[in-house]
Symmetry: none
Subunit: 420 residues, 2 copies
């Protein structure tokens, strides 16, 4: 991530992070905020609670970055040493901030305490020449301090406090302080499903021109598909947008079969929009996905407007009793077959009185595979008024991958069958 703009490093402090007792979400959260503002994050670093480790990390960051955001180590207990480390970087003493001290005293008085506990009194200390950033949600005030031209901002590690102080005080100061040097990321995100990362990449490389101006192309695959992100770096806004539009057009013929529109990158969102536009309802009959499709659909608020419900027909007897799949069909073709997938989709559509029914049956593994139908074999079908369409795939990967991929493929078929 080169560029002459504002370079930032995010430092997270805490033994619990290095012991794997907690996942650091602050670094990702603040990086997303900084990208939007036009600040380039060039590194995240996590260190433990030792004062020397924090100080060493800070000194390296000061040499490399214009802005250092530190999270954690501002609590009242003896293992919270970020204040001392920040002061130690420049050798200034810690001084009691009267305003912060008064707020802490007030906070404890109104909480029924007679006086401020000594351990909390330490939380009013600020390095000389620095500034406190008040914290409405907790006892740990933030800090800010300039060292050798680098601006150091220290926030409490508790995510909602970290977020609140950043949004409340830090963001606007970044806009002021680095005004004229900010370079917001311009990007085009294309969500695809049903095509592998390598095939998509090879196909796109064939249609993309050699000259891509300021734009780089990245691929973010997960079990549900591949997101292609075109990023214009270091260009004027108008030029960046022109390049993004130009390259977006070039790849359109390749991606159009696989793309879906979604702000959050969730295919369920695209399906929901289409169902709502038609006033249609959906019902799901799931075997190998075991409720995953229903769960994903109902993750969305408001899904009761278009989702009636479903049957998890994990046992074959349930396919017969609840979905009306004929026993002889199961015996002749097996549970994982085109015929059974179609009858599941039609059966749940009829039983639930839905406009659209889907059915999915497969072998998620690790057991249950055969030479004829190995683990990963999946049949799925979608029934809409007068038309039932089925597809099958053989997914690689283990149980979770097969289930996620099956759910996504089935939802993609729903999406394709909803008339434009």
């Amino acid at each position: 991530l080169a560029g002459a703009g504002v370079r930032a490093i995010v430092v997270s402090v805490g033994d619990e992070l290095l012991l794997g007792h907690a996942v650091d979400t602050n670094a990702s959260w603040v990086s997303s905020r900084l990208a939007r503002l036009g600040v380039r994050v060039q590194e995240h670093v996590t260190v433990g609670d030792q004062e020397e480790d924090i100080r060493t990390a800070l000194m390296r960051c000061i040499r490399m970055a214009d802005l250092v955001i530190v999270g954690g180590g501002l609590g009242p207990t003896p293992d919270d040493r970020t204040r001392a480390a920040v002061a130690g970087v420049t050798g200034v003493p810690l001084i009691e901030d009267v305003t912060i001290l008064e707020r802490l005293e007030e906070r404890f008085r109104s909480g029924g305490f007679e006086s401020l506990p000594p351990s909390n009194r330490r939380q009013a200390l600020v390095p000389e020449g620095g500034e406190a950033l008040s914290n409405a949600l907790g006892t740990a005030a933030g800090l800010s301090l300039e060292v050798e031209g680098t601006w150091i901002v220290v926030l409490p590690g508790v995510p909602r406090e970290f977020h609140a102080i950043f949004d409340g005080e830090v963001e606007s100061r970044i806009l002021n302080r680095f005004s004229g040097r900010l370079d917001p990321v311009q990007e085009l995100r294309i969500h695809t499903t049903g095509i592998s990362e390598s095939v998509l990449c090879d196909d796109l490389e064939r249609v993309l021109p050699a000259d891509r101006g300021p734009v780089s192309v990245a691929y973010y695959p997960d079990l549900r598909g591949v997101t292609v992100v075109l990023t214009a770096l270091g260009a004027e806004a108008a030029e960046g947008n022109r390049w993004l539009a130009h390259l977006g057009q070039a790849i359109d013929p390749v991606v159009s079969r696989y793309r879906y529109a979604s702000k959050e990158g969730d295919l369920v969102e695209a399906v929901a929009v289409e169902l709502l536009a038609r006033g249609w309802t959906l019902a799901a009959a799931e075997s190998c996905t075991g409720g995953l499709i229903a769960k994903r659909v109902t993750d969305r608020a408001g899904s009761s407007q278009y989702f009636l419900g479903g049957v998890v027909a994990y046992d074959d007897g349930i396919k017969v009793a609840q979905l009306g799949v004929p026993t002889d069909l199961l015996e002749r073709h097996g549970a994982v077959s085109e015929e059974v997938a179609c009858r599941m989709a039609e059966g749940v559509r009829q039983a639930f009185g839905a406009d659209v029914g889907l059915g999915v049956t497969g072998i998620a593994g690790p057991g249950g595979g055969s030479a004829d139908k190995p683990v990963g074999t999946v049949w799925y079908a979608v029934a809409i008024d007068g038309e039932t369409r089925a597809e099958h795939r053989r997914f690689s990967g283990e149980r979770e991958a097969v289930r996620e991929r099956s759910a996504q493929a089935c939802l993609a078929l729903v999406h394709r069958m909803l008339p434009e």
Copy 2:
């Protein structure tokens, strides 16, 4: 985290992490594994996809650590540059690994491709003198290489592939390579559900002795419950274990009502063990959880032995048609009521011929709440031969939190009702 033992650094690679498009979970996951093995992680660092940035970070790590675990940048696309960076650290060339190449070719052949896409061919490259770590779940093989006495292990960034290669190949090699220098963390983990962090903490502080020897107590809450972790640091194994047993006994009267046994910390595991021991089957009728319980149960391999399936009765009409909930019961008590939860549990038990039926109905939000039944109100019930028990809760938090807490509370009731 001092100590003369084995020092490790975890490096995560990816522009998507620095842009805040994704949260890094690999660093936390592998740190937890390393702590268990007795390796001290002294830093996490995240860099972007630029080869030079990766190389610079690696060179710093080599000076500081005995073991460097790198995740990410092994994909088939041009923005995957970790291979080249690792080779660049020592100036060795990249060489095609024949075994990996054959595996890739076989993988694509069995996937129906005629030949290996050129971009994937790059994934068979290994730095000279290094070794490939085969990846059963994807195309990105891992790498291992020794540089100036530091062991560098590179794993794909996709978490399940990262996990699988670490567990399959890396863990045992760490045990071998660093044998005699490892200092495993001794800990006692107690998984609880149904009690809040602050109440549990206050209760435990009352029963824990003031002298806890080398043991510290930490609380890790999430939407499903609180895990209490007692950690013995810096003690001989026998002494640490004695202290852990002593303190474990002290807190037992408080935690026994809320604890469940599970290696992975998943309540579904504890329920599965109980069902299997009795040869019993389970069926689920879900409204507000929308398939989440069925999904969680079927996440586990082998769940078809005890899980017959379920009905997602999102729409009230489905509760009537599929579960036999009487219309007048819905009208008199409302869909979110003790009566309806009980009839859902009994209805699915009967319709599916299961030994145990569960039913859950509630208001997940953000809409649908009322003064009488605000968002977060949930009724759930479990029906076992001759006995139906129902409970209700009012959960705080937003939609996802209410759904997760409802599913967990309902599974906890199943767990409590399975006779010891």
